[in-house]
C-alpha cells in the first residue's frame, strides 16, 4: 500500500499498526477520528509531504522517494532522525532491558547465563550510544552547516573552514558492528539458550529485538537513501561554485 496524504490516518494504522510509534515521533497521538493525514499535519504544523515520505519509507522497505527527495529541508530530516534517536535511547532500550530482566527471572536462567546476556546488551547499548553521539556531534552539525552555506546564509569564519575539511563520504554508514551485535543476540536466544522451559518471556524479548532491528534498519535506510544523496548533491554544488577549494 502506498500511503497518500488524503488517506485517513486511522485507515493507515489499520493497515499497519507498527507505524504508531513513528507517528508519535511527530507529536501526533492516537485518537485520530476521521481526519486525513493532511488535516492532522496542518493541525500540528507539520510538513505533510515529509510526514508521508517517512511513513511510506517505514511501511514498505522497497519505497524509494524520488520526486519528493529534494522538496524538504535537510534540517527537517535531521530533526526527525534526532527524534528517532531519542526514542531508541529513551524508550526502546529501557524497554528491552526490562524484558531481559523479566526473562532472567521468569525462565529462569542460571546466574552465569543471565549475567552474560545482561552484559552483552549493556555493551550493545554503549556502542549504540557512541554511534548516535558521533552522528549528532559531528555529522549532523556538518550537514546543517552545509545547507546554510548552500542557501547563502551567513556562517561564521571557522565554519567555512570546517566544510573544506570534511566530506560525507568519510561517513559511509559504519552501522555495521551495531547491527551485527543485535543479530548475534537474537541468534544466541534462538539457538543457544540453555535448558529453560518457559518461552514466553524470551519471545516477548525477541519480538522487541526484531522491532528494534526493523526500526534501526529503517533509520539507516533513511540516512543512506535520503540524507546522504542530498548532502552529496550539496557538496557538489559547493565545489562547483568554489573550484579552488580542496576536493
Amino acid at each position: 500500500m502506498l500511503i497518500h496524504k488524503n488517506m485517513k490516518l486511522s485507515e493507515v494504522v489499520h493497515h499497519d499498526h507498527t507505524l504508531v510509534p513513528i507517528i508519535n515521533r511527530f507529536g501526533i497521538h492516537l485518537g485520530f477520528g476521521d481526519n486525513t493525514i493532511t488535516e492532522i499535519c496542518q493541525k500540528h504544523g507539520l510538513n505533510v509531504d515529509f510526514f508521508v515520505t517517512i511513513l511510506n519509507a517505514f511501511h514498505d522497505i522497497h519505497y524509494f522517494p524520488k520526486e519528493q527527495l529534494r522538496n524538504f529541508s535537510v534540517a527537517l530530516l535531521i530533526d526527525y532522525l534526532q527524534k528517532a534517536h531519542r526514542s531508541f535511547l529513551e524508550e526502546k532500550i529501557p524497554e528491552i532491558s526490562l524484558l531481559i530482566k523479566n526473562m532472567t527471572e521468569k525462565c529462569p536462567l542460571d546466574v552465569v547465563t543471565s549475567q552474560l546476556i545482561t552484559n552483552f546488551f549493556k555493551e550493545y547499548t554503549e556502542e549504540l550510544k557512541k554511534h548516535i553521539r558521533q552522528e549528532e556531534e559531528t555529522i549532523y552539525p556538518y550537514v546543517l552547516l552545509l545547507e546554510k552555506v548552500n542557501q547563502n546564509l551567513p556562517v561564521d569564519e571557522g565554519a567555512s573552514g570546517k566544510i573544506n575539511h570534511y566530506s560525507i563520504s568519510a561517513y559511509k554508514a559504519e552501522h555495521e558492528d551495531v547491527e551485527e551485535k543485535l543479530f548475534d543476540l537474537k541468534n544466541i536466544l534462538i539457538k543457544y539458550l540453555p535448558g529453560q522451559k518457559n518461552d514466553k518471556p524470551v519471545y516477548q524479548l525477541l519480538r522487541e529485538l526484531f522491532s528494534l532491528e526493523k526500526d534501526l534498519n529503517e533509520h539507516a535506510r533513511i540516512e543512506d537513501m535520503i540524507l546522504i544523496p542530498k548532502v552529496e548533491a550539496m557538496e557538489k554544488t559547493l565545489r562547483n561554485k568554489n573550484p579552488n577549494g580542496p576536493v
Binding site: 552474560l116 555493551e123 544466541i188
Partner: protein, 196 residues
C-alpha cells in the same frame, strides 16, 4: 541458507522473481533493487550474496559494470534475467541465463544448480571442529588473528578462514557474541574472558 538478491526494474517481474526464489528451499531472498540506485555494487557487496539475479537491461549509469564485478567469483554466481528476444544480443559473462518465457520448473532447476555451485564450506555441519574450538577459545580471550597464527604455527590466512567458518557455523559474528556462546557452552571459564 544461500543469500539471493534480485535486480529488476519492473515491479511485476520483480515480484514474480521474488515469489519464485521464496518457493525454493535453502534460498533466502535478501533484497531487491530496481537497478538505478546509486553505489549499487558497493551496497550489494555488503549483502554478501551467493546468487545475483539481474536483468542487465535494468542497470543504468555506473551500475552497468555491476555483473562484471562478480565475474568468475567463486562465492557469487550471477544469473541474467532476459526475454527470449534478447537472445540475439551478445550476452556474456553470466553463470547462466533465465528467460521470462521459460517454464517455472526449468527456472527453478537453473537457480538450484547455480546455488549448488556456490562454494560455501561448512554450512550444513554446525558442530565446531576441535581446531575451530581451540581458535574460538583464543579469540574470546582477546588474541588477534596474528597472535593465534603464531601460537598454532598457521598462516594468518588459515586463521581468517577458520574464523569465517566459526561465524558461519554458529551464526554469531562479533567477539562479544562468541564470548557469550563460549561461556554458555563451557568452552572457557568466565574469568578467562578478555578485559573490555
Amino acid at each position: 541458507m544461500k543469500n539471493v538478491v534480485v535486480i529488476e526494474k519492473y515491479y511485476l517481474l520483480q515480484a514474480g522473481i521474488q515469489a519464485l526464489v521464496q518457493e525454493i528451499p535453502g534460498l533466502f531472498l535478501s533484497k531487491s533493487w530496481l537497478g538505478d540506485e546509486p553505489h549499487l555494487t558497493e551496497i550489494i557487496l555488503k549483502h554478501k550474496p551467493d546468487l545475483i539475479l539481474v536483468n542487465p537491461f535494468s542497470l543504468s549509469g555506473e551500475n552497468i559494470s555491476l555483473p562484471g564485478k562478480f565475474r568468475s567469483s567463486r562465492n557469487t554466481k550471477v544469473l541474467a534475467l532476459l526475454h527470449n528476444k534478447d537472445k540475439s544480443q551478445s550476452i556474456s559473462g553470466f553463470d547462466d541465463l533465465l528467460f521470462y518465457e521459460e517454464d517455472r520448473f526449468i527456472l527453478e532447476q537453473k537457480i538450484r544448480r547455480q546455488a549448488g555451485n556456490v562454494q560455501n564450506p561448512g554450512t550444513n555441519h554446525q558442530e565446531l571442529s576441535p581446531r575451530e574450538i581451540t581458535i574460538l577459545r583464543w579469540i574470546v580471550k582477546g588474541l588477534t588473528h596474528q597472535e593465534i597464527a603464531d601460537k598454532l604455527f598457521l598462516s594468518i590466512h588459515t586463521v581468517n578462514t577458520h574464523r569465517k567458518n566459526i561465524n558461519k557455523k554458529l551464526g554469531i559474528k562479533t567477539v562479544s557474541g562468541l564470548s557469550v556462546y563460549a561461556i554458555m557452552n563451557h568452552l572457557i571459564p568466565m574469568e578467562e574472558l578478555a578485559e573490555k
